[in-house]
């Protein structure tokens, strides 16, 4: 569904991605692991069209989308839930959701999606007229996810959805990822919490210093000595 080939993204002269290759298959949950500064967020921002790659291609269902503006990528059906949630703090919960549906012009189905979102996240309905900035971290993450879903993505990108959240809420988020995947959503998630990711992911990539260094199934990952030590905390 998504094929990233030899992507190089640089901040000035410093290359954060030094030729990344990976693929996301339709209907799967793909997980990207990696230490801080490895380039995970840079990759997500590049796919979402916020950053422009210096070279390489990103193909989505056969079409090259590398370097296209974010607006067109959203219209293509790729939507990113950004790191740190980035909700619109001074807008109400409902306005946040409506902003998520900005790329759509079908008013009626937007309205029914809004109701579906409230059904999935009852907390958001209770707080629909509250400013997003007053929500707790977990609620803001739920809002960021549902805001992305309002665009009706075909591929949902998530950048560290569990960052800074309490364990119970992290479990909630992974339950939602699983639910979405069961409903047919393709998900590409960046996650530091490898143990949680093992429960949902069908495929893993490990990125270090701007390059993919591991590519395999959850089974293969658990076999890998380095990953075991660094990410799963198992003694050898």
């Amino acid at each position: 569904m998504l094929e990233v080939n030899d992507i190089v993204t640089a901040y000035g002269k410093i290359e954060a991605l030094k030729g990344v290759d990976l693929a996301v298959s339709q209907g799967q949950v793909t997980c990207l692991l990696g230490p801080n500064g490895a380039g995970k967020t840079t990759l997500m921002m590049t796919i979402a069209g916020i950053l422009r790659p210096k070279r390489g291609s990103i193909r989505f269902n056969g079409q090259d989308i590398a370097g296209k503006p974010a607006r067109m990528i959203v219209e293509q059906g790729i939507v990113l839930v950004p790191e740190n949630r980035l909700v619109f703090r001074d807008m109400t919960v409902e306005e946040n959701l409506m902003a998520g549906a900005f790329s759509r012009s079908d008013g009626k189905t937007v309205q029914s999606d809004l109701e579906a979102m409230y059904e999935r996240f009852p907390h958001l309905q209770e707080r629909s007229t509250q400013y997003a900035g007053t929500l707790s971290g977990g609620e803001q993450q739920m809002l960021a996810i549902s805001r992305a879903l309002m665009a009706r993505p075909r591929l949902l990108l998530m950048d560290e959805p569990s960052l800074g959240l309490a364990p119970l809420i992290v479990e909630d988020i992974f339950r939602i990822i699983r639910e979405l995947n069961d409903e047919g959503m393709t998900v590409f998630v960046v996650e530091q919490n490898a143990r949680m990711a093992l429960q949902v992911a069908d495929h893993f990539y490990l990125i270090e210093q701007g390059k993919v260094v591991f590519d395999g199934t959850p089974g293969e990952m658990e076999e890998d000595e380095v990953i075991k030590r660094a990410y799963l905390g198992k003694k050898i």
Binding site: I50, P69, L86, F88, R89, E95
Partner: protein, 294 residues
Amino acid sequence: MDLVDFVQSITDGLLFGATYALIGIGFTMIFGVMHKINLAYAATSIAGAYVSWAVGTLLPLPALVTFVVAAIGGGIVGYLVYLCCFKFIPVTSPLATLLGTVGMLILIDEIIVHETNGMPQPYPALFDDVYFEIGEFYGIRGDLLFIFFLSLIATAILLYILYRTKLGIATRAVAQQPVAAQLCGISIERTNASTFVITGLLGGLAGAMIGASVGVLSPLLTLPITIKGLIVTVIGGLGSIPGAIIAGLLVGAFENFFQALRGVTERDMYVMLLLFAFLTFRPGGIFSKTTSRD
């Protein structure tokens, strides 16, 4: 100065302050969305008024239509300012856009001086023959009351657009969180452009209101209005629309009161002192934002 003069000067000032409020809203909206100051904004506003004056010399317009033409003129000039000073200059060079707008301010001024030989031009007022007497001593000028209501309506329409339409959601989204706005499929460039058009429309209207209440248009208006607009924006709190409205009325009343008390030559000195007081005691303005962007 007796009580009658006191009340009267403040009332007139409050009504005229509505134009400052509109100018302040324009400055503050552009700052809110782009985090940049557009110093050519007040010049845009006066240019809009001049456009309607120029159209009026070619074919006579009813006074009310003059206001509409001024708004449209302001919208067009606003978009041109966006094209020249913002669209192609990277966001990472704020000084370039700032100086670009200074250049634009001077350019607009020079075009006006050139086209009118520097002479003030008469501008039609509306309801200037109307005077509402209140009691034995007080009264309200019809033309000032008219521009006051006009700016109320314009502000109401603006707030409706900002809080009840898709364009408004996009505008506020870009102002609060530009990255997330892009991730929602909102184009920052289009939103910036529409902000310049909308504020230009408001500015043109404000320019016409200034022309109508002063009775003439003059290129000498641009600089003082720029300064008043910036003062209103700072006193109201950068980026705050309610702040700009209240500060506009406050500055209008304040300036007119001191004009009555100390004369027109000393008036602006006191407005500067008001700014100084705010910068010292409440630097964030009336509605200072406590939340920071993340």
